[in-house]
Amino acid sequence: MFEFPQFLTIPLAEWVDAGMSWILTNLGTIFDAIGTSILALLLTIERIFLWIPWIVTILAVGIIAWRALRQWWAGVLFAAMLVLIGSFGYWDLAMMTLAIIFASVIISLLIGIPTGILMARSNIFQSILKPLLDAMQTMPSFVYLIPALMLFGLGKVPAVFATIIYAIPPVIRLTNIGIRQVPKSVIEAAQAFGSTPKQILYEVQIPLAIPSIMVGINQTTMMALAMVVIASMIGAKGLGMQVLLAINRIEIGKGFEAGICIVFLAIIIDRITHAMAARKEYSMSN
């Protein structure tokens, strides 16, 4: 009586499994192609990051932070954080983590911004995509690891793939919102002067949505950073892997070191992208 009826069992798990194996057998080549191109991008970025001498990276980050935040101490502080990461012996791992983040964010933006624009132009598309984005963000992030693992095997590529899925919603959402928030009166004026829909998009809507898109980029980057740590469970080498190893071996000290490196990276990336977004907004309202 109080038990849920047996006959109402819906074997969703089996269906998903069946779907996955169908995709694997039939679309394997497509995913292979995607995998190799992701890998190529990732390795290029990683190689560049590892190739740049550490002192150049630290100086560059310091200068960028100083220019973006308009405060000299921010540059010094962020440079010091990077020095600390190096002194823990995690420089190379940090660069690898950064490379995964960069690759994921680049791909996320390439897909996310056009999707956001489409979403802003079509109410139907918006009503389809919105629940999908909600689901993507509320789904526990570990869940993405499984299909990523099945499609691309172990390693960095599935890590990038899972990171993209987890990190892409904010940039889509905020591009959509940014374009929809462009005042009607401005669009009307553009129309009245004979702008084509394409001209309205490129001359008016996108430029005015940039502050919002920048916030989206900031959030996407932060979510990518969060996911990269989790993605180390499927073999992405980097700082996250160190945390994982420390947990397995119960090495509190090592875990703390790696953890603090991740926090440093988060602070640096967040503050710099945030300042850039805020600057865009400021220059427009004044």
Partner: protein, 422 residues
């Protein structure tokens, strides 16, 4: 009879810039129901009740001639903003025709419409509609940019127009750093930059404070004298309509209830609504010198001698007469006092007896502007045309009488209304 009306219509057609014929805009579903004869006769409220459709504009017809300053006036919700947007097809019309230079733009495809908006028309908005991410120069040059004009050329043109609206030196500022009045100057400059044939202004000065508004109105009048565009101007402010318009259409509930010159609207309101609307408007603002000027009983001519002039004074029993040249140019005013002095001094040219500092006005001067002139002199005020030719004279008493008459009619109507309320 009908035939003559038709030929007259077609001969005027070449002069017509905008013609609106039986234009409708209805929001809602199954709008066809609103076109039945029964519905045509009903009011906006009845149609809404019976069909659920909102009639924004109903059976609108009017014509605007080339170079005319046409004002559409109505309170909020009267459909005036919808109407002006229909003319650019920023809003799709439901029925009727809009002819611009004889071409029905309701049948235009996107390409033709873009061409029209880029080259023939330009619009100024109440909320300015400036691009917040572009500086003043790029805002003004926008219309040229979408036309595909090269950067250098469009900046030259834009700077020229910015100069014209008095914003020189502000080219590199963003709109948000400018005051409301200056922002609207940018709006006007942006519209003028493409050298449109037709300028549409949707309550351009409504958001500005009164002092700036008056200044902008005066500047617009000045600009119009310079550029001579066909202007369609929407406003809810009667004083503004009377000041700017060469003709005014008064709208209410989506319909035009009267079209006429400012004077016609004030002095012969078409119905009770218009009368109520204009009753506070002072006729001093619209009645012009030509309405109250009189032909002088007698004039003096420059070739006449002082003695002959004295004879004229004696026979007409006046103490001042205007002196004109043989081409009719006003030379001045001769008073009896000065003439007597001239004769006593044995002078022989009437020009020596002219009253100094003679005020003059033109036929278009409104009564309001005549008041200070009337106070400054005891003599009649001469009316002259652009060439300085004498056209007539205005007595202080005529100015007074014109005001009193208007007041009286206003009062009787008011008392009528009170009676009907009882």
């Amino acid at each position: 009879m009908e035939n003559t009306a038709l030929t007259k219509g077609s001969s005027q057609r070449s002069q017509m810039c905008i013609q609106v014929e039986d234009l409708w805009k209805i929001f809602g579903e199954n709008v066809e129901r609103c076109f039945s004869p029964e519905m045509r006769a009903s009011s906006k409220a009845t149609i809404l009740e019976k069909t659920g459709c909102v009639v924004a504009i109903k059976e609108i017809s009017f014509e605007v001639q080339k170079g005319e300053f046409f004002v559409i006036m109505g309170l909020s919700g009267s459909g005036k903003s919808t109407l002006i947007r229909c003319i650019l097809r920023l809003i799709k019309t439901t029925a009727g025709r809009i002819l611009i230079n004889g071409d029905d733009i309701c049948s235009y495809n996107d390409q033709q419409l873009t061409h029209l908006r880029r080259n023939t028309t330009a619009m100024v908005f109440q909320q300015f509609g400036l691009f917040p991410h572009r500086n003043v120069l790029d805002n003004v040059a926008y219309g040229l940019k979408v036309q595909g004009v090269a950067e250098e050329e469009r900046y030259i043109k834009a700077r020229e127009v910015i100069d014209k609206v008095g914003l020189k030196g502000w080219e590199n500022y963003l709109p948000s750093t400018l005051s409301g009045g200056m922002q609207q100057r940018v709006g006007i400059a942006r519209a003028l930059a493409i050298e449109p044939e037709i300028l549409l202004l949707d309550e351009p000065f409504s958001g500005l404070d009164p002092l700036i508004r008056r200044q902008m109105q005066d500047e617009l009048i000045g600009l119009q004298e310079e550029v001579q565009k066909t202007i369609l101007f929407v406003t809810h402010d009667l004083d503004e309509a009377l000041k700017l318009g060469s003709r005014i259409a008064i709208m209410r509930d989506g319909e035009i209830i009267q079209v006429g010159t400012p004077e016609e609207v004030i002095t012969t309101p078409g119905n009770a609504y218009v009368r109520e609307f204009v009753q506070d408007a002072s006729p001093a603002k619209v009645v012009t010198a030509k309405n109250i000027m009189e032909q002088p009983k007698v004039l003096l001519y420059e070739w006449q001698g002082p003695k002959a002039a004295m004879h004229t004074f004696r026979t007409t029993m006046t103490n001042s007469i205007f002196l004109v040249s043989h081409t009719g140019i006003l030379l001045g005013l001769i008073t009896l006092e000065r003439l007597v002095k001239l004769i006593r001094n044995r002078g022989n040219s009437l020009k020596e007896a002219l009253e100094p500092d003679l005020p003059t006005c033109t036929a278009d001067t409104v009564i309001e502007e005549l008041f200070p002139l009337a106070v400054s002199t005891m003599h009649p005020i001469p009316v002259v045309d652009e060439a300085g030719r004498f056209m007539g004279e205005i007595y202080n008493s005529s100015i007074m009488i014109s005001m009193i008459q208007e007041k009286e009619t206003g009062e009787t109507e008011e008392s009528d209304k009170e009676e009907s309320h009882v």
